[in-house]
Every structure is written in structure tokens, then in C-alpha cells.
Symmetry: C2
Subunit: 244 residues, 2 copies
């Protein structure tokens, strides 16, 4: 793993050691951000197991940073709802129950509802075209059975629709809340039947957006989320097994 510690050793570290490259001098003022992004990726992608503890040593050694920026990163991740800090015991990845996930879906649905109407009012043709391009690539991913690519583009499309509302606060909150449950949503997408249907729904969503039919778009997104959650829940509860 790429280490940031390969630099002149400012503090009290041995002055004779660490002669290797110093790619990180410019990171002053950005270390915490770097750590946050790194850990966030690990949590959102599922590399760090839900409920699992994240010891400071594990990260400091893995990323080559010291404890101060790491501890600041933990606080940020806690504010984002990705991590829980238990006093004297450190940080652990938040584990979401099905009802927590359902709650998050409700929030996202509400945010997309406002976004839908605003996007149809304020979105530009260029923005719509960018979404359509992603949509086409997403369909291609489905045809190629590239679940990972599909999932990624899917997320991106929803974010871009929200971004069309030209409301930075909305985009920010949507992004954060979306990240909280991303790892759990992946499961739902693996169900073949749902996958096909989801793409069909996306077609309609894209059409409604392009035709600037806000009320319709809102309803389509709402239904899309309800359908998605229904499948996701069953997968999470073990009723449906994700195909190998």
C-alpha cells in the first residue's frame, strides 16, 4: 500500500532514516482529507466489514499517516454517519439494520422528489445529454453483464439528476446519505429480474427528465426506489440469495 510516511520525517523521527521519495510534502493541510477519502472508500465499497472495529494502528500503518490526522478523519466520518466512535474503544464501521436502510431510502426518495421538479425546471440540455450518455453506457454494461460498471453508472446517474436541481446543499446531502447505504444497495442489484426492470424504469426516468415532466419524474423515481428497496430488503433478509 502506498505510504505517505516516505518523507523527511519532520517531528522526532530518526533523522538518518527515510531517504526515499517525498511525494507528500504538498499534502500539508490535506492529510485529514486524504485519510477521510481513503477510509470512506473502504467503507462504502465494503472493504471494511460493517460493524468491524477500525483500530488506529491498522490505518496509520496502512496509509502511512500519524494519529492526529487519522483521528480527525474519524470525527468527520462519524459526522457523515459512516463510523461510530466509542470513547476509549475507538472507531467502528456503522452497521445498518434493514430498517436503517429503509429509513435512508425514505430520505433519498424525499430528496429526489424535490430534485425531480427542480431538475426539470433548471436542468440544462447539456446536463441531460451527460446523463443520457451515462444511461447508454449503463445499458451497455447490462448487456455485457458488467454488474460493477452498471452499479457505478446507476449511482452516478441518480446523483447527476439531483445535481440538475442546481442546489448545492441538496447535492451534498444526497451524496452523503447515498454513500451511507451504497454497500447495501449492491446486493439488490444482483438479482437478475430486478436488474432488467430497473433499466426499464431508468428509460422512463430519462424520458420524463428530457421532457421536463417534473411531476411524472418525481413519481417514477419514487416507484423506482420503492421497487429497489423491496428487492434489496429481501436479499438482505436472506429470502433471495444473490447469484454467484
Amino acid at each position: 500500500m502506498q505510504s505517505l510516511n516516505d518523507l523527511p520525517a519532520p517531528g522526532g523521527a530518526h533523522p538518518d532514516l527515510d531517504p526515499p521519495p517525498e511525494p507528500a510534502r504538498a499534502l500539508r493541510g490535506r492529510r485529514t482529507l486524504y485519510v477521510v477519502e481513503r477510509i470512506r472508500d473502504m467503507i462504502v465499497s465494503g472493504d471494511l466489514p460493517a460493524g468491524g472495529r477500525i483500530s488506529e494502528r491498522m490505518i496509520t500503518e496502512g496509509l502511512g499517516v500519524t494519529r492526529t490526522p487519522l483521528r480527525e478523519a474519524f470525527k468527520i466520518l462519524e459526522a457523515e454517519g459512516l463510523v461510530r466512535i466509542v470513547p476509549n474503544r475507538g472507531a467502528e464501521v456503522i452497521h445498518l439494520s434493514p430498517s436503517d436502510i429503509e429509513a435512508a431510502f425514505e430520505v433519498l426518495t424525499g430528496l429526489e422528489s424535490v430534485a425531480a421538479e427542480l431538475a426539470c425546471t433548471r436542468g440544462t440540455a447539456a446536463e441531460f445529454a451527460a446523463i443520457e450518455a451515462r444511461h447508454d453506457r449503463m445499458v451497455a454494461c447490462q448487456r455485457a453483464d458488467d454488474l460493477m460498471g452498471y452499479f457505478h453508472l446507476n449511482q452516478e446517474i441518480h446523483q447527476l439528476i439531483v445535481d440538475c436541481a442546481h442546489n448545492p446543499a441538496l447535492s451534498r446531502v444526497y451524496r452523503t446519505e447515498s454513500a451511507r447505504i451504497r454497500r447495501y444497495r449492491f446486493a439488490g442489484n444482483r438479482v437478475g429480474e430486478r436488474w432488467v426492470r430497473a433499466v426499464m424504469e431508468h428509460e422512463q426516468i430519462l424520458d420524463a427528465l428530457k421532457q421536463r415532466q417534473g411531476a411524472l419524474l418525481r413519481e417514477l423515481l419514487r416507484t423506482h426506489h420503492i421497487n429497489g428497496w423491496r428487492v434489496t430488503r429481501r436479499v438482505l433478509e436472506g429470502e433471495l440469495s444473490p447469484p454467484g
Copy 2:
């Protein structure tokens, strides 16, 4: 100001000094939280001017904490959108433009829209009664011309309606986003005419909630926010001067 530093001096402080009370020993693991809450209050209430810099010394001396928990607090407040940290220059209170505030209103409206329908489905009679009690006290505040009390109860009522949705994520996001613009909303409430009308709207809102008419409640809240924002904007843009 109450200082937390009046304790045994663990680190390297002079061991002969600081004999006074030690009320904060139990704060281990909670210092950052304490600082966050303190600074958040100062920002939300307007004690710290928007756009103003918050130097570390100013807070460490004021609250009697050291720089480590303070810097962690800044990171949390940045994640909450209350503060901006400029590398090598420290933290400053976020200044929101009218369009930022409008954006926040849109987010809050969206969140309350979901909340409205859910609250009418899931809210308990006890919760409704608690809201009604606040509402009555709020009306009393209006009659007594107690703007501060009115404002506080108003905020509380909206949060409680959202809480009726029994969705922790929704409550959390609403609380955070609401705090971001609280200081700016106060201005809007000072306009006498709006004040009267807002209370009337609250009557209707309460009725819709008690009768569990979700769609109606949603629309009433939406209109309520639009009306509120219209006045707030004019005050912020200086078209209306706040009396007193």
C-alpha cells in the same frame, strides 16, 4: 466563562498550579463533543459572526480546552456545513448567500414533504399531543410578543413533526440542515405581518397532522416554507427592515 482547564493538569503543565475544582475529569472521551456543541451554539445563535474567522486561541482560551479536541471539533463542524477550514489559515464561520439559504429551504421542504406523509401514518397520539402543547405555548408567546420564545418553539415544532416520521436518518439530516440556516431565519420571523400569518398556517398544519391528512399536511408545510422564505429573503436583501 467556565473553563475546563481547572483540573489536575495531566500533560506537561506546572504541577504546582491549578488547585481549583476539577469538574471535568469525567470528560475524557467527550471533550470534542463538548467543544462542538459549544461552538455550534455560538454559530447557530449568531454569537459568532458569519464569515468571521475562529482562531484556535480564541476558543482554547475561552473554553479551556487544548488544541487537539478543538481541531477535531472544527472538522466535525465543517462536515456539518457550519464552518469552513482553509489550510494554514484556520476555521471561519460559513457565510450563506440568499441563494444558499433558498437552497437550504428547498432541502428542508423536501425533507418535510416525506416526513409529512410518514408522520400522518406513523405518528402517535402522544407525539401529536406534545406538538399541540408546544403549539399552544407558541401562540402564548406570540400574544406576549416574546419573539425569542416563539422562534424557539416554532423550530421545535417543525423538528417534532419530522420526528413523527419515526425515521432517525430523516430527523438527523433535518436537524443538521435546519441548524445551518437557523440564524438567518430569525430575521424573517420579526416581520409582524408574517408572524400573524405564520401562526395561522401552523394552526392548519396542526389540524392536518391530527387528522392524519398526509397529502394536505405536505402541501401546507410546503406553502408555509415558501411564504417564510419569501419574507426572509426580503429582509436579508434589505427590502424590509426588521423592526425594533
